[in-house]
Amino acid sequence: VILVDAGPLIALLDRGQGALHRQCRSVPPTLSGALITTWPCLTKALYFLGDLRGWAAQKALWRLLECKAVFLHKPSPAESQRIAALLAHYHALQMDWPQASLVSLAEVRHLTTIWTLDTAFARFKIHDRHAFDIVSC
């Protein structure tokens, strides 16, 4: 299972993103596992796509979930506490809620690979120790 951030999801759906779209669409055939994301990342992508193309674009994102191309993680109360701790720990790097949610999910599910366009993940550590294996476009 591979973590996926908002950026690649948007770039996959929107061919208007040009070179970034073409680079991202070449990634899925190289991945052997399923994709999983979090509610904060989905929210971020929904806002962006909504401004881009309204409901039609948001619906395309929902289709990724309906077709089980992307799975949505439902956090436990304990994960909320971990997200708060991560935000505190990385406040100097201005970690935001979606970023923290992905780091927390990596810890809970024992995942190490993330597909993201966000270079900040090179500085975040799983359990404060292990670096992510980053798949980028």
Binding site: G16, H21, P28, A69
Partner: protein, 107 residues
């Protein structure tokens, strides 16, 4: 096909009677959980393992690329007119600025 399940301490052996396939060892908690589940379902441990493998997503479900078929590039933010959103929230603008820094073309 005939199988023999040999049990000793935390060791569980699955052996094909005819071809003498190799056995393997499970940790004690996993072994006990497997045995309990098999008894509950009226199966041998081999039958339970076989059923779990048969239900494994990797064995039956399409690949990620196959699932994405027909969904990639379904919108074109360059060719089509920008969505006439009357109000754009500050929240959405913050995310858009962040994603723009990651290389995405902003709405």
């Amino acid at each position: 096909m005939w199988y023999w399940e040999g049990l000793s301490a935390n060791r569980i052996c699955f052996e094909d009677v005819m071809s003498h396939q190799p056995s393997f060892t499970l940790p004690e908690p996993l072994y006990l959980a497997l045995r309990q589940r098999a008894r509950q379902q009226g199966m041998t441990m081999m039958q339970l393992l076989a059923s779990l493998v048969a239900e494994a997503p990797e064995a039956t479900e399409p690949t990620l690329a196959a699932r994405l078929q027909g969904l990639i590039g379904v919108i074109d933010s360059r060719a089509e007119p920008q969505y006439p959103s009357a109000k754009r929230s500050p929240f959405g603008q913050i995310w858009a600025a962040d994603l723009e820094q990651q290389g995405l073309r902003r709405p």
